[in-house]
Structure formats: C-alpha cells, structure tokens
C-alpha cells in the first residue's frame, strides 16, 4: 500500500467532482433540499385543527363554550354554518376538519342544572389526526364542565371538593412533544445513508463505462489503494453534508442538541465509511452508472425510511419485520442520533449501536476490497 497512489487517486477523484457541477449539486444541494422539504413537511403535530361552529343556541353560554375551543392552541374556529347543507359542504370541501354543533336548548339545560349536549363531527378520513383531535376535544369539554361544577359549588357556598387523584405527567427528552425534535435527527441519518451510497455508486461504474478502468488495471495500482483513494473525497463531502445538516438542525429547525458534538461526528465517521463502501460495492458489481445509481437509491432509501424507526416505531411492527430491521444500518444511526440529540446520551448507553455500525462498516469495506478485481471479465 503506497500513500502516493492513494493521494493520486483521491486528487483525481476530487477533480472529477468539482469539474462536474451535477455531482456537486447531488452532493450539496440535494441534502439541503431534502432536509428542508422533509423537515417542514413531515410534521406529526396536530395544532390548530380548523373548526366550524353551528351555534343553534346563540346564547352567552354557547359562545363561552365555543370560545373555550377557539382559545385552546389545539383548535381554531374558522367560520360558522347555519344549516345541514352548509355543514356537509364545509366537511366535504375540507375547509374545516370538524364542526361543533351546539343545540338550541344548550343554555336552558345548563340553567336547569341538567346535562347539556353538544355534538362534534370530525372528518375521520385521516384517522391519526381525527383521533388526536377527538382527544383534544374531550379535554376541552372536560375542563369546561369541571369549571361549571366548581362554579355551582362556590355559588352555593360549599367548600371546594378535593380531587381524589391528581396525576402530574412529565415528559422527558422532548418536553414540548414537538415532532421536529425527533424527526430532524432521524432525517439526518436517513439522508446520509442515501446520499453516501448514491455518491460512490457512480464512481467505479463510470470508469468501466468510459474505458478508463482498462488502463488503470494494467498499472501496478492495488485494489485497496484505488478503493481508499476513491473513498477519501466522498468521505470529505459526506462529512461536510453532516456538518451542514447539524447546522441546519440548530439554526433552521432549532432542534436542541443535548449530547456531545464530538460523539455525533465520530459516529458519523463510522457510518459514512460503511455507507460509502456500500455504494462502492454496488458500483463494483453493476459496472453501469444508471443501474448502480438506481439500485443504490432503492436499496438505501426504502429500508432507511421505513425500517429504521425514523418515523415508524419499530416496536409496533409485526415480529417478522422487526427482525429485518436489525440488518438495516440506518436503524442504528437513527437510534444513535436521536439519543445524542434528545437524551444527550453517550457511548455507554449507545454501545451496542456503535459496535454494530463498526461491524457494518468493516464488512462493507472488506466486501468492496474483495469484490474489486483487476481483471476484465
């Protein structure tokens, strides 16, 4: 192994990347674009559910009740309807996700001390949002009726009853329960997997396609020298992408980074070696740029997106699928990044993940070296 040869290959590869604006675009612009798109679009938070009201009662009480909904951060009242046709139209057209109907006898029943009724119609076509909205509504109604009870008791001069049970939940790690706080760190992992494999998937196939490989394999350059030389520039680009992603998480998405930055980058280094080597393995085997790029995309994007626990909790998957997730390298990188970002944990907690990523990278690097042959087939 000669350093001179490795640097010669690395320098040449750098020149290729910087001469070809498309590869530069792929290396820098695509990660930024994906991060912005996914970071903003992929939100699971249900806030300000648009609501319409059909206030048949038209009394101070009914307006007070409606104000309770509008005042919470979960709902926002966008309009009123006055009949069945309008109500149907509002839901069908998606102007509101639900309609709150306050019946004519709402105030009378309350005044008489009887149970008043109100109806909430929710568009259930998005079951996840509908479920969350219903839970919010229940909480708002419960708070409202509890208030009424206390008011009645106070008016009658009785002592306020003590609540029998008082649960004080405290959320750790992501106190505001904001989905961006766990989506963005996972997104960095998924993004790096795809970009890294895509970057290197072209490099060896290109040389076979253009005939330059035939000249190269007739020289004394050794397989590992070529592989290492080709990895270095893409490794630098990959690391730059990670830096970019971390900076964007900090300054664009304001995701708090609680763990060690040094640990984060150390893990990124290990992961990058594996993902870049995997791209090389694809390139070495397929010897065709188009095929290699498409294969790299499919082989990295789907598993990292669906099976890494980035969005969908692995614990909720069927057992057979759970088993498959163990061989998805992004799973370990996602877990590590989420751990570093939200829990601020280090190698002692993430030991298994770190070891697995090391094994993955070692295997991929070895396969690339073994599979690369200095012979024509």
């Amino acid at each position: 192994m000669k350093i001179v040869r490795i640097t010669a290959v690395a320098r040449k590869e750098f020149l290729h990347v910087f001469r070809d604006y498309r590869s530069l675009m792929m290396a820098i612009a695509i990660p930024i674009m994906m991060l912005v798109l996914f970071g903003y679009a992929l939100t699971l938070d249900v806030d300000n559910v648009p609501l319409a009201v059909w206030d048949q009662s038209g009394t101070a009480q009914s307006r007070d009740f409606i104000a309770r909904f509008d005042g919470s951060r979960f709902f926002s009242v966008r309009g009123t309807v006055v009949n069945q046709r309008e109500m149907d139209y509002t839901i069908d057209s998606g102007r509101a996700l639900g309609v709150l109907v306050v019946p004519r006898d709402f105030a009378q029943k309350l005044a008489a001390g009887r149970a008043a009724e109100a109806q909430l119609i929710i568009d259930g076509s998005d079951s996840n949002t509908a479920t969350i909205a219903l839970n919010y509504a229940e909480a708002v109604v419960q708070g409202y009726s509890q208030n009424l009870v206390f008011q009645a008791i106070r008016r009658n001069g009785l002592p306020e009853p003590r609540q029998p049970l008082n649960v004080k939940p405290r959320v750790w790690f992501n106190e505001e329960l904001e989905s961006k706080n766990f989506i963005v760190p996972g997104l960095i992992a998924v993004l790096m997997m795809v970009i890294a494999a895509l970057l290197t998937s072209l490099t060896i196939a290109r040389e076979w396609e253009q005939g330059t490989m035939e000249q190269l394999i007739a020289t004394p350059v050794k397989g590992p020298e070529l592989i290492l030389g080709k990895l270095i520039p893409y490794f630098a680009i990959g690391l730059f992408d990670v830096l970019l992603a971390v900076l964007m998480a900090e300054f664009v998405f304001h995701v708090p980074l609680r763990g060690s930055v040094l640990f984060l980058f150390s893990i990124a280094v290990i992961f990058l070696i594996g993902a870049l080597s995997m791209g090389l393995v694809i390139s070495i085997n397929l010897k065709n740029q188009l095929l290699a790029a498409q294969f790299a995309m499919v082989a990295t994007f789907l598993p990292s997106f669906l099976l890494s626990g980035f969005m969908f909790s692995i614990a909720n998957m069927p057992h057979a699928i759970q088993v498959i997730t163990y061989i998805v390298p992004a799973r370990y990188f996602v877990t590590t990044l989420k751990g570093i970002y939200m829990k601020g944990v280090g190698p002692s907690v993430l030991f298994a993940e770190v070891v697995f990523l090391m094994i993955y990278s070692a295997i991929m690097f070895t396969i690339a070296n073994v599979r690369f042959k200095k012979k024509l087939s």
Binding site: K2, V4, R5, T7, A8, V9, R11, K12, L15, H16, R19, D20, Q210, G211, T212, M213, E214, Q215, L216, I217, A218, T219, P220, V221, K222, K374, K375, L376
Partner: protein
Amino acid sequence: MMNTATNAVVVENLEKRFGGFVAVNRVSFEVAKGEIFGFLGPNGAGKSTTIRMLCGILAPTAGRGVVAGYDIYTQSEKIKANIGYMSQKFSLYQDLTVEENINFYSGIYCIPAELKEERKNWVLEMAGLREHRRRPTALLSGGWKQRLALGCAILHQPPIVFLDEPTSGVDPISRRAFWDLIYDLSGRGVTVFVTTHYMDEAEYCDRLGLIYRGELVALGEPERLKRDLMAEDVLEVLCEHPETAMGEIEQLPGVKEAALFGRGLHVVATDGEAAAGEIGELLARSGRRIERIEKIVPSLEDVFVSLIEARDRAEQPQAEVKR
C-alpha cells in the same frame, strides 16, 4: 524450454475461450528484447484478447506465457509494474487537463518526487503538448490524444510496451509521427509489441505475427514472409484498360486471381514465367498496348490474403463434413 533470458515475451499454446467461442487458439511465439513486434490481423482476429492476456488483465484459459520474466498467471502484478499498456479505446480522463492526467499516472507509477517534473516535461515534449498542458484532454485532436496516452503509459520507463491499435482513427501525418515515437522507443532498447490492421504499418515492424480467427497463421520478418510464404508468383501487369482485361486474364489456366492494383493489375499465378507469356499473348490478341509484365515481390497484403484464403479453402471441406 522457454527462453526468457533474451526474450521479452514468450508464449506457448496460449488459449482464450469465451464460453464456446475460441478467441485465441493455442498461439505460440516469442518476442526478442528490443524488437518491434507487430501483431497483424483483421478486426476480431484475437489481437486485443492476446495483448490483454499478456498485460495480465485477462486470465487465459490455457497455455503458458512469460512477460518481462514474469508468469502471466501468477505474477500479473509484477508484469504490470514492468510494462506500459495503451488500450485500443482512448482511456485517459477527458475532464482532466493534459497535465492532470500525467500527474495522476505519475502518482500511480510512484515516480520519485525529484523525477516527476523531468518526466512530465519529457512526455509533454515528446507528445508536442507543451502549449496545451492546461487544456482539458477532451478538446485534443486524435493524434495528440494518442501521443498523450502513450506518454502516460511510459512515464515509468518500462522495458516493454504493449500498444493495441494505437493509430486507428488517426490521420496519416499523426500516424507517421506516432511511428517516429515507436522507433524512438525502440532505439532506447524498449521492446514494442504493437497490433495493427494497417498493412503499411506492418512493414515498419522488425517481426510480424499474422493472426486470423484466433490462430497464428504466419510469423517472421516482413521481408521473409513476402519471399517465402507465398507459394504462387505475383505479376504486375500494366496495360491499356486493365479493368476489362482483368476478367479475361482470370480465365487463363494457371492464373488464380487477378485484381486491380494502382493503375495496373496484380495477377497471382502458380507459374509466373508461363503465365507472363500467356498474358502477353492474350493482350496482344485483343490489341491492348502493354507497358510492362513483370514478376514482383508480393506485398504483405498479397501474402496475407493468399494465406487466409488458403486457410479458408482448407477449412471448408472440414466444415462440410461436420455438418
């Protein structure tokens, strides 16, 4: 016994099969140190396949081979350090400049730092690319590209160079200039193994191997091939209206073939003296003016055509039987 002390390349019964197709069929030859050895044959004859096996980038199916004293099966990496190879297709990096390509191969061949500049200048000088050193390789003309490719292949000053059709698709002046470089290398004691399908280039070689359908059909110095290998005589006939005379001459007994060549005819006959008399009579009878009828040394093309026609004739009955 293989003589590898005075020979740069020794090959015995070298064979390459691709599935059922025999690309190179048990060829044997030797290339002496310092000579220009030409490998002549039509496209698809097995020239590139042979050269690739000798350079250690294609595994042979059978046979033996030693290049620069190293075995082509077990020591291909040692061979690669001691040869320069220029593949048929232009294979430098088109998006890199002339200088960047040289620097890259200079690194690959581990040229010592103190020699780098000198070697680079030598290659730039040799290829006539000094003024174009910062030009992207893609913008160079064919002749320049070939000279640059040769330069990159000999940066490490190997004792043997393999050139696979180095002048295909290059204009005649650049071809001539390229051959000057080959002579120059040969003058420095470098062994040159070159494939071509140009007959005129074959004449420039010290020794030739004629390959046809994977088989070596002749081997020797160009002069000897022309003198010895043709069983028939070749007559040059210069007369009025050779295009019409050609058909009549071909009808004569003892004449095998007549073909237009330049402004006259080349006639292949079993007995030149007898045929010359008969042709003279025939032309006189038809009233054509005769300028000259003369026995000539056959050109390489005549030799090659007659050899492969003889081979095709010999193979035909076999093929019939097989069917």
